[in-house]
Symmetry: C2
Subunit: 366 residues, 2 copies
C-alpha cells in the first residue's frame, strides 16, 4: 500500500521528508556510529540534539529567556496535574487557593476536573450547553486566582481561541497540544504553555512545556519529584532519561519547519487548507460544519452529514469513513464523544491531501 | 563511521536487526501506508502492535493473569513516586503507613528517599559504608510493611541480587530497569516490577510495569490521575496517548528475543559475556573489579585501573576512555558518582563486542 493521507487527530501525519531522514539515519546519526535511540542522554552525541531542538523551538516561537523550555513525558494529562500542583498547590492542611478555567470542550473540562483535586477551581465560562460550538467570552480573572486555564485549540470539538484572553497579572495557562507551531502565538501573553508532541511536533511520548521561570519553585513538599517544574528546569530536561528518540524526531520536524519558512508560512498554508475545506462544507447542501465561523479551528475541521434523522446520518457517515479509507483517506471519524466526522489537518498535511479529501467528499455526495 | 560497540548504561545498544527493520518500516508499517509514529493509538493499526508486545512480554517472562502489564511513561523516577502513593499512600491527615527498602546503591537510595515523602520508609539493610560492593543480607519485613523495595540490578554500582529476598505476605517491589529479560525471573515472587525501556528493551520514553492486580485501586484521592495504576489497568495503557513508537520498537525487540531463544538463551549468552570479562579482569594485575564475586551484575561490569595513587589512576582511566573511543568502543566511563570504568553489556551487546573490549584492555595494559 502506498502512503495514505492520515487525518488522525493524533498521533498524526509527519512530514515525509522527516520520516525519510529518520530512516536513513537509523543506524548511524551524525556520524556517531549509533542510532539516536542508543545514545546515552548525557553523552556529547545527544546533547547537541536536545540543545538544537530547544534553540530551534525558541527561534520558531520567539521565546524569551524569561521562559524555560522543557521536554517532559506524560502528555497533557500529566500537565493537568502539574499545573495546579506547581502553581497553586499547598501543604497538607493549608487553605486551598483559587483558580479558574474556561470550559470549551472535553479536554478543557478534564483539565478543570483534575485541577479541582488541588485547588478551588472555578469554571468562569462555558459553551457546553450549546454543544461546545463556540469559544465563549472570557470574563476577567479574580485578583486572587493563582492561574487561569484555557485549551487553545479544541481537538475534539473543532474550535479554537483566535487570540488569548486578557488576564492581567494572573498567569494564563494554555494547552496548545493541537495547535503548537501552526501559526504565530505571542508567548509573552502566557505564564505557561504545554503541548503533547503527537499532533504537530513528532511522535507521542514527549511533552513540550514553556514556563515563565518565576512561576516554578513553589510546589508543596508532597509533590512527586518528576512533577516538579523546578527539578526539570534546573537539570535542563535531563533530571532523568528523557524520551531521546522523540526529541530527536521533534528536532527534525523543527528543522523542516524552519526550512519551510517558519510559523508565518505555516499559518498561511493552514489558512489556505482550512478555508478550502470549510468553504466547500459551508457551500454544500450535503455537509455541515457545526462550529460557529468565528471560533473555528485551523487544525481540526469538524463536520457532519446534513441529515436530521440520526440513524440515517450515522449510516451515511459510517459509509463515508469506510469508502474514504478505501481511497487512502484514513481516520476521518469524529471523536467518540463528539460523533460525526473530523479532518485533522496539521502542518504535515499537504494541500493535496485536502484537495483529495474534497474531491472524495464531492464524489460521495453525488 | 561504522557502527560502534556502545557500552552505555542506558540508553544503550539495540539489536542491529531491530534497527534495520525499524528503518525499513519507517514510512509504511504492516502495509498500513503509515509510520508507527503516525498511527492513532486507538486505531485498528496500532492495537495489534501494543497487544502483541504485551503478549510477547507475558510469554518471555511467564507472567500470569494475576498481573497487569502496563506501558507507561516517566521512567523509574515516576515509579519511585507511584509505588508508595498507590501501595501505601493515605488521605491528607491520616496516619502514615510503614514500608522498607534495601540500600544497594544510588538508585535504591533514591527510591527510598522519594518514598519517604509518603510513607515511613525504613532502610532495612545497606552496603553503603562498604562502597556498595555487595548485596547485603535482607532481613525479613515487618508484618505491617505495606511493601518491601529493592533495586534488582544496580546499574551504577555493578551489583545485582542473585535471587529475590523472601518477604512472605508483604509485596516485594523491584526496579528491574537494567536487567529485565536478561535472565529468567520468577515474577510470582513479586508484587510489582518496573523497568525503564532504555537498557534492555528499546528507546527511552516507555516504562514497563508488571503489577499484581490486587495491589491497585487503593490510591488516595489526591493522587494525580496519571500516577494511578488502576486508571492505566482499566484502560489497558490507553488512558492517554501512550509512547506509541517506543512501544513499537519494544515489540520488535521482543520478537527478536523470541527468535533468539528467549530469556534462557539470553542468560546463557550474558553469563558467557560477563564471565569472560570478569575473568580477564580478575586475572589481570592491571585492572580490578570492586564488586564481590557473589554480588556481581551480568549487565553492568564495573572495573578500574589497579593503582593506589588516585590522581595517576584518574589519568590512566581518562586515557583508557579516549583511546577506546578511537577504536569504536564508546561510553566506558563509570557513572560520575562511582568513578572508574564500566562496561554495560546488555542483551544487544554481541560476544564480539566483549572480545574486542578485552583485546583493547590488554593492548592498553601493555
Amino acid at each position: 500500500m502506498k502512503r495514505v493521507y492520515n487525518f488522525s487527530a493524533g498521533p498524526s501525519m509527519l512530514p515525509e521528508a522527516v520520516l525519510k531522514r529518520a530512516a536513513a539515519e537509523m543506524l548511524n546519526v551524525n556520524g556517531t556510529g549509533q542510532s539516536a535511540m542508543e545514545m546515552s542522554h548525557r553523552s556529547a552525541n545527544f546533547l547537541p540534539i536536545i540543545e538544537n531542538a530547544e534553540a530551534n523551538l525558541r527561534k520558531l516561537m520567539n521565546i524569551s529567556d524569561e521562559y524555560a523550555v522543557l521536554f517532559l513525558q506524560g502528555g497533557a494529562w500529566t500537565q493537568f496535574s502539574m499545573v495546579p500542583i506547581n502553581l497553586a498547590g499547598v501543604e497538607a492542611g493549608a487553605e486551598r487557593k483559587n483558580a479558574a478555567y474556561i470550559d470549551t470542550g472535553i479536554w478543557a473540562a478534564k483539565m478543570g476536573g483534575e485541577a479541582a483535586k488541588y485547588v478551588n477551581m472555578r469554571c468562569a465560562a462555558s459553551s457546553k450547553a450549546q454543544g461546545y460550538t463556540f469559544i465563549p467570552a472570557a470574563p476577567p480573572p479574580n485578583s486572587d486566582d493563582a492561574f487561569y486555564a484555557i485549551c487553545y485549540n479544541n481537538t475534539i470539538m473543532g474550535s479554537a481561541w483566535q487570540s488569548p484572553p486578557e488576564t492581567g497579572a494572573v498567569p494564563l495557562v494554555a494547552d496548545i497540544s493541537s495547535c503548537i507551531l501552526s501559526a504565530p502565538l505571542d508567548v509573552s501573553r502566557f505564564g505557561l504553555l504545554f503541548a503533547g508532541a503527537q499532533k504537530n511536533l513528532g511522535p507521542a511520548g514527549c511533552t513540550i512545556v514553556i514556563i515563565k521561570k518565576e512561576l516554578a519553585g513553589k510546589a508543596p513538599s508532597w509533590t512527586p519529584e518528576m512533577l516538579r517544574y523546578d527539578t526539570h528546569i534546573k537539570e535542563k530536561s535531563l533530571f532523568n532519561t528523557p524520551p531521546c528518540y522523540c526529541i530527536y524526531v521533534i528536532g527534525l520536524v523543527l528543522e523542516w519547519l524552519l526550512e519551510q519558512g517558519g510559523v508565518a508560512e505555516m499559518r498561511k498554508r493552514n489558512i489556505e487548507k482550512a478555508a478550502m475545506l470549510y468553504d466547500y462544507i459551508d457551500n454544500s447542501p450535503f455537509y455541515i460544519a457545526p462550529v460557529q465561523k468565528e471560533s473555528r479551528s485551523l487544525m481540526n475541521v469538524r463536520f457532519a452529514v446534513r441529515e436530521d434523522d440520526g440513524e440515517k446520518r450515522g449510516q451515511l457517515e459510517k459509509r463515508f469513513i469506510a469508502e474514504a479509507e478505501n481511497e487512502g483517506l484514513v481516520n476521518l471519524a469524529g471523536h467518540r464523544l463528539a460523533g460525526g466526522l473530523r479532518a485533522s489537518i496539521y502542518n504535515a498535511m499537504p494541500l493535496d491531501g485536502v484537495k483529495t479529501l474534497i474531491n472524495f467528499m464531492d464524489k460521495f455526495r453525488r
